[in-house]
């Protein structure tokens, strides 16, 4: 039994403690916005916040986050109106969209660390996450737009 906070609510899961946080979020807790892409910390589709820091949820065992606060894309805002989400829509960033939850969670972590990042800082920080559709330049613009609001 592992207890932690997910998107502001206490949860308790009865899963093997070595099961990946990613799979617990998706399959035990039913939040599908966090994606599996590589299982190897290489693509960032699974990015969530653990105690405010961006983490690859494919690299964490659920037992390791006992008591932690986990935020997923579903918890970033109640109604999808986080400045980053609004900027993502304004800039029409997504194509296939599969990586974008992870991109937005990574970007949210960037803006909380660095509210006014330069283009280079954005590019460097966002390099943890892959986008095969090639939306990187739109991601940069959306992060810059959101930074004006945060």
């Amino acid at each position: 039994m592992t207890q932690f906070t997910l998107n502001g609510r206490p949860v308790e899961v009865d899963r093997p403690t070595d099961e990946l946080l990613l799979l617990v979020i998706r399959d035990a807790l039913g939040l599908k916005g966090t994606k599996y892409g590589c299982g190897a910390a290489m693509c960032g589709a699974c990015t969530v916040h653990v105690d405010g820091a961006p983490e690859f949820s494919c690299q964490l065992a659920v037992g390791d986050i006992e008591g932690a606060e986990v935020t997923t894309i579903e918890g970033l805002s109640e109604d999808g109106t986080h400045p980053l989400q609004k900027a993502w829509i304004d800039q029409q960033v997504p194509q296939c969209g599969y990586c974008q939850s992870g991109q937005i969670m990574r970007a949210a972590a960037l803006l909380s660390e660095n509210p006014e990042p330069s283009r280079t800082e954005i590019a460097n920080y966002m390099s943890a996450n892959l986008c095969r559709c090639g939306t990187y330049n739109r991601i940069f613009k959306a992060v810059e737009q959101a930074a004006l609001e945060v």
Binding site: G33, C133, Y136, I139
Partner: protein
Amino acid sequence: MTAQILRPNLSRRTLLKGGAGLVFVLGVGGLSAVEVNAQDATLDVNQWLTISPNGAITIVFPSTEMGQSSYSTLPQMLAEELDADWNDVVIAQLNEDDRAFGNPIFGGVLYTAGSTAVQGYYDPMRRAGAQVRDVLLQIAAQQLGVAKDSLRTETSTVIAEDGTRLSYGALAATGLDGVQIPDAEAVTLKDPQSFRIIGQDIPRRDVPAKSTGKAEYAIDVELDNMAHAVVLRTPVEGETPTAVDDAEARTVEGVIDIVTLPDGVSVVAETLWAALGARDLLQVEWSTTSPARNFNSETTLASYAEAVRDPEADVAVWAEKGDATSAIKNADSTVSHLYLSDYAYHAQIEPMAAVASVDPDGLGVEVWAGTQTQSWTTHTIMETLGTTQDRIRLHMMTMGGSFGRRTAFVQDYVRDAVLSSRAVGRPVKVTWTREDDVKNGTFRPAAAQQLEAGLTTDGQLTGWHHKVATPTVIGFFNPGRWEIVKPNDVISMRGAESKFYDIADFRADHIITERQARLAPYRGIGAAYTSFAAEAFMDELAEAAGRDPLEFRLDLVRDNQRGQYLLEKVADMSGWQDRGDRALGLSFAGYSSSMAAGVAEIEVDDSSGEILVTHIWAAVDAGRIVSPDNAHNQIEGGIVFGLSSALSERIDIEKGEVVQSNFYDYEIVRADRVPPIDIHIASVDAPPTGVGEVGTPMVSSAIANAFYAARGQRLRHMPFTRDRVRSVLQS
């Protein structure tokens, strides 16, 4: 009241819709039936759309969505001619292999590939909308007692001369006696000048869900009582499990069953985690007789290079004009070079996944899958269960990228979900890991290309011969199709026709080599490598002729004014004429009938061998643009894809096994290596020709040509990995 006006080719779809208010059946040949039922007030206007009394207009989306935004763009084309309010439009995914909705470009097969969706549906979907608009005008004219010609429409409303307004929804609830269905070919389409939807930046429908984690992909499908499966696949193509020791795997808590498949072993468990754990404990012996065990990418490419230089090799002529051989023979000088390219992997971020729920009788099934074709997914399921199409309930899910990955005639991941579900009598989701996806990938083929051309003493091109040694891709991923089209393989050869240039004496040959890997279409298909070779070679010719690469190309597009415009435009955008010490490389290629001129600016780190692309400019002509902002996004995505495959993407095969495993050894480009990309899209009055792939083919040659500008040496083997760049610099 029910009346039917029947014409030939009545679709079974019409017959299924008993409650319809008004049904027009529009096949490729045009409208064929109307059915009226005033008791049910829904106006079910032809197979393509339904209008509800509340004003909702539901339009069928016949393709599948993988990021290209056809989901929004195709219904927009119909809505334009219907004069619908886009906000009234509800989009309905086509979830069956109903060839009445097929793409005319693919002979009616439901197949989303080759940048053809807008191109193929531009005419039929607009005509469908125009026909329905005409019928709505007729109904309104009857109601108002005025001439149809006196009415006009705007945003889901018919407006009379006296200002009376009748909403489409209200008209949908009305009887239809006396309505004449206009002929599909005779219907009047709008003057593009009056377009309100086509050509406008209307936000994509799927973007909000994709910005909030709510978009549902096949890998996200969750059903009651659903089990999870992972498949241990044969390490080498063509082998089969001969002995399975699953005793230890079965001890893992949650394991439901272990199912032997023709080319793998499926571990079915209550959770994905349990299935993954149990798979690690399987002991499987595989057969060892497959010829694929001899596949070795290094020797494969060497053998292709040998074949392309063998004057005795059998060739299939891909494109020919004039007499290239004589022109080259009679030229004042000749230039010839060999270009190589390795296998490349799609690297879509959603790995293969599918959910199947087989009925108790083993013949019916509901399937959730993301694929590029309703037709071949249906075929796969029918073959797997030995069943008929009417027993299949399909859900075409939006895909987490595809780029050609999910086009095959036989879809093994769908098959495995169906077989696993049948075995355990429960719904089963099959998920591939990234390693499964790489190791069992289907690749852009390796290719060796020899180009030879002649020059006159005054620096003009005379005679062009492009030879491509690569296997047939169609022969592998759709063998039945190959029997029809061979020896012409557009997937392997596209781009080698160099059709945007006017070269009087031209020839492109396909040397169809032995396949030594699993193959598939890939973004840009053949042009992803044929345009690399052709446009890198073009630069070498210009240099041999002592001429500027832009001027040399401009000579060859005198009869292609739209192409000439693109070259001049991109030169202007990039400051080509005043480039000074900047290392710029020019290319002019495209995809199908869409053209792209590009310039790459690079820097080279000599010690690491890294090429840093610092800027890309592109001028693109893709005919009329239906959705400009999305077109920009697609073209830019295609350029980034081309950049990535040019610099780092490479699959190796040793003893039949794929060497790479994941994104740590198959590198795709990351945010910090993506340059500013400036794109100009030409405004032209011509039919749309597709934007999904046009950006890709010119990128690798633009980079190679920029490398020559930077270092005076040629890159003739793609990708231009750091080790290759270092070795070129040291040579």
